[in-house]
Symmetry: C2
Subunit: 155 residues, 2 copies
């Protein structure tokens, strides 16, 4: 039984091909996926449900033209002072509606935050001050404004 | 006629609510969207097709657990020397399979690249050298390794 469980958790080429197809168009239905992968809808549905259940697929989402929707897209690259609990810092900001992406990281920044703000630079300043005010141990914040998403895939 | 075209291009609250629903689950079908939005499938399908056609919705994609798929996720924050043509630089790298995200930006970095590399630090070094070798006018590269995606939405 343990061995079967182990076997089930392995990701094979079929799973990867399916994930790559969905990364190009997450709205493909079972029938379309089955056609592309030359298999049955049953196999597609079984595998997809497993990938979702096990968290290999975290979510399906949409990539909008943020500028045309009236938003400014800002990346905050944050360096926390050594020894800071990143989990605690994340807790203070993660439920904000304007904080869209939170990534733990190592390198010049150990916290990367993507912020979506209505097109108004005063509002951007206010939001950045609110967020950095909530973080207790900041050493440095790099503010980068994304002006165009030229390419976007996640796998 | 011109006025009607103008009217059609406006994004209203209904569009925004639909895009936000899809950002939480891009696989919702017309029937489900219609239920959430308290409207008809016809209206959902008509509006969605317009948003896609006009590029307000750029694509639907999947957010996978990259680490469990065997990848290291690296952000390259690149500062180009002043006066460089960003378009030309992007042209040199945009077709690489491992370059997943390319963003034009203003701030400390004017080019942000997301790189997906199989889990092997030697391979990571090789890929970064290949990419920075293709860019002609680099002033500085900040390499950040994403260790966990805690939150991920795009709208």
């Amino acid at each position: 039984m343990v061995i079967r469980e182990e076997k089930r958790k392995k990701i094979d080429k079929f799973d990867l091909r399916m994930i790559k197809l969905l990364s190009k168009n997450a709205r493909l239905n079972y029938r379309q996926l089955a056609e592309y992968l030359n298999t049955t809808r049953q196999r597609v549905s079984r595998r997809l449900e497993r990938l979702e259940r096990e968290g290999i697929i975290k979510k399906y989402t949409v990539v909008p033209d943020l500028s045309r929707l009236g938003y400014i897209y800002v990346i905050l690259g944050i360096t926390l002072t050594p020894g800071t609990s990143i989990d605690e810092e994340i807790e203070n900001i993660k439920n904000r509606e304007d904080v869209k992406v939170i990534e733990r990281a190592i390198g010049p920044h150990n916290l990367v935050i993507h912020l979506l703000v209505p097109k108004d630079m005063k509002e951007v300043e206010k939001r950045i001050n609110e967020i950095t005010g909530k973080l207790k141990n900041i050493e440095k914040v790099d503010v980068t404004f994304v002006t165009d998403i030229v390419k976007f895939e996640l796998i």
